[in-house]
Amino acid sequence: MADDLLRLRDDEAHDEPAVTLDSFLGQSNATAVRLEAGEDARALLPHLERLALVEVSFPSFRDGRGYSAARILREAGYTGELRAEGDVLVDQIAHMRRCGFDSFAPAAPIDEAAMARMLAIQPHVYQCAADDRAPIWKLRHG
């Protein structure tokens, strides 16, 4: 999996394996956790200080719960690595980026050239999200 990991962060990759949410909540020293699609990201909010990696599972690219999980974590101030894992495809990555994901562990290899094109294609965005892109309304009104 590590071979296919796409990281859009400058820091060193975290090497501690992610534990399940139940294990994480039951032990005090884990620094990496994996959220399944149906699990509540808000359960992590009291522990953000010690987290270095949150891995969010996408069992199918059609299952969009992970987008909300990511935004909730970023809105609460989480700054560690936020990884989308599973059925992660080229055409969903731009939205994932906007929701705060900054690393990707796709189950199948990604065409990086296509990904770069898709990430760059929309010059502006219409709404606020978890990234720092200014929405069009802000650009219009300075």
Partner: protein, 543 residues
């Protein structure tokens, strides 16, 4: 009307380039059909029984002459010369080639049009009142709100892979012309203490489990609207069912946990989201609203209309509605000629309507959820000329809201989901009741046909509703009475055992005969049904 600025244009152009890239990757095999499907759906492209179907967005049903001419051009160049106006105030083309789709989208983009989010499990085209800006009963023009929501929902990063599709309607009048409470979110703009705000209804819809949306919040100030809607959507995205696509709409979530509990969760989320600073400044709303300022209505116009041509007078009484500006009227163009396909218009007819809008209606036209077209601002003095031009183009059917003004889905003639044909049945009913005097005698009677349980033909909301089902390999039609998508919103009740195609037409005739025999003064068919209940109608139908 709203006009794109360079940001809007760049967004739509970029979307065309993105979709072209995706189509190329699909044709090369880099994308599987499974992976490509949601991408093409979010660009309005369906794979139907015989070909691809492209659904083009007409935001809140408003378009100008230039855009209409483009719709005619697409029909002529890429389809078989027709377009089909839909119950979501959009237009769809039934004979599209996949490899042409990016070029069509590029042509549409030159007139500020697109097919973004006309399908897929995302926030769909926002629908609204077709009389917006013209109706005397509106609190304000709802379209600036709808345009604001169009922009906010376009390429929304969190809400593009929802459990299921998501439809929002915005109205601002007491009379509901948009079936607002049969949407996932229905917004009614109301005034309180001199301020406009949104009354928010969540969890309505048709489909196999029809629901009328309960009120979730009685007033959301404009300044909080986007935060509040983000909260509504986030609760749904996180907790809406994903195990069964037939239970995935927000109406099921709201029904299962209860409107009060859903509202409480939204309030909690809203308290959090509100603090993020995602709401628009008032200046942006004002910028959008300025595009919808009333056109330069003339004053001192004559109110008198020469009714000496009897055919014109009939059309006038049926299809023309009062306008808020003196000397003006709202013209409804029926796309329901007897024997025709409901909602269809030829490229030539679309061009005629574009010309009439340009010459007589400040360049503006509207699409209605009942699959008709509106010229919103016509001088009363011009009505006769408009009628003559419509008559010449086969567009002067005087049947608005009468029994032959049928809403019908494409049905088994086109749709891969359908169990039964809708169009031939609509044609048969319209033909049976073809006599215009008889239709007028029956009065307002909203008849709606769906060719399967997904209810695209709004049969649950029909005064008379018809649902086509497959019964051991033959088409069978279930009849229901008493539905309404208007401010007297209600869901129809099934009469009893279904019928074959001719049988259902006979049953409707027996029911309308009973109505004529039993109605009291001023009662519409649906009023008589509500007063008498199902029993006498059952007796009349099944004897």
């Amino acid at each position: 009307m709203y006009k794109y600025d360079t940001y809007d244009q760049a967004a739509v152009d970029a979307r065309v380039a993105e979709f072209r890239d995706q189509v190329e990757r699909r044709l090369s095999g880099a994308l599987s059909e499974d992976q490509f499907k949601p991408l093409r759906l979010m660009n309005g492209l369906y794979l139907q029984l015989h070909a691809y179907m492209l659904r083009v967005a007409i935001p809140y049903g408003t378009l100008d002459s230039r855009q209409m001419r483009m719709l005619a051009h697409v029909a002529r160049t890429y389809d078989r010369g027709y377009g089909h106006f839909t119950t979501r105030q959009n237009i769809q083309y039934n004979w599209i080639k996949l490899e042409d789709a990016p070029d069509i989208l590029a042509e549409l983009a030159t007139v500020e049009m697109h097919a973004i989010q006309t399908s897929g499990n995302c926030i769909r085209n926002i629908s609204s009142d077709q009389y917006a800006g013209a109706a005397a009963d509106e609190v304000t023009d709802p379209r600036p709100w709808a345009e604001l929501l169009r922009q906010w929902s376009s390429f929304h990063p969190e809400f593009s892979y929802l459990p299921r599709k998501f439809k929002i309607a915005v109205i601002a009048a007491g009379e509901d012309r948009a079936a607002m409470r049969l949407h996932d979110i229905g917004i009614e703009i109301v005034e309180r203490d001199g301020q406009h705000g949104a009354r928010v209804f969540v969890g309505g819809g048709m489909g196999r489990t029809p629901m009328i949306a309960p009120e979730i919040r009685d007033f959301v100030p404009l300044a909080d609207l986007l935060s509040y809607l983000e909260a509504c959507l986030r609760v749904y995205n996180r907790y809406g069912r994903r195990d069964n696509m037939y239970k995935a709409r927000i109406k099921i979530l709201v029904h299962e946990i209860g409107a009060a509990d859903y509202a409480r969760q939204v309030e909690e989320e809203f308290a959090h989201v509100k603090a993020l600073g995602i709401d628009l400044p008032a200046a942006e709303f004002e910028r959008i609203a300025a595009f919808f300022a009333p056109p330069a209505f003339e004053t001192g116009l004559s109110e008198t209309i020469d009714r000496s041509d009897p055919d014109f007078a009939l059309w006038l009484d049926q299809n023309v509605k009062p306008h808020k500006a003196p000397g003006y009227a709202i013209v409804n163009i029926s796309l329901k000629p007897v024997g025709g396909i409901p909602g269809d218009a030829s490229a030539e007819q679309i061009d005629v309507m574009a010309d009439l809008a340009e010459r007589y209606s400040f360049g503006e036209a509207r699409v209605t959820h009942a699959q008709n077209i509106v010229l919103p601002h016509v001088r009363k003095a011009d009505l006769y000329a408009v009628w003559q031009a419509l008559a010449e183009a086969g567009l002067a059917e005087a049947n608005l809201d009468l029994i032959s003004d049928i809403i019908a889905c494409p049905g088994l003639d086109y749709c891969s989901l359908a169990n039964a044909r809708s169009i031939p049945l609509a044609q048969k009913i319209a033909t049976r009741f073809a006599d215009p005097a008889r239709q007028r005698e029956l009065g307002e009677l909203k008849l709606k046909i769906s060719g399967c349980i997904n209810a695209c033909g709004h049969h649950h909301a029909g005064h008379i509703g018809i649902l086509g089902v497959d019964k051991k390999g033959t088409e069978n039609y279930q009849l229901s009475f008493g539905g309404s998508g208007a401010e007297d919103v209600s869901l129809g009740k099934i009469t009893g055992p279904g019928f074959d195609e001719d049988g259902v037409v006979d049953a409707i005739e027996r029911a309308t005969d009973l109505y004529l025999a039993r109605r009291e003064a001023g009662e519409r068919f649906v009023d008589t049904y509500r007063r008498l209940g199902m029993e006498p109608f059952k007796e009349a139908i099944y004897g």
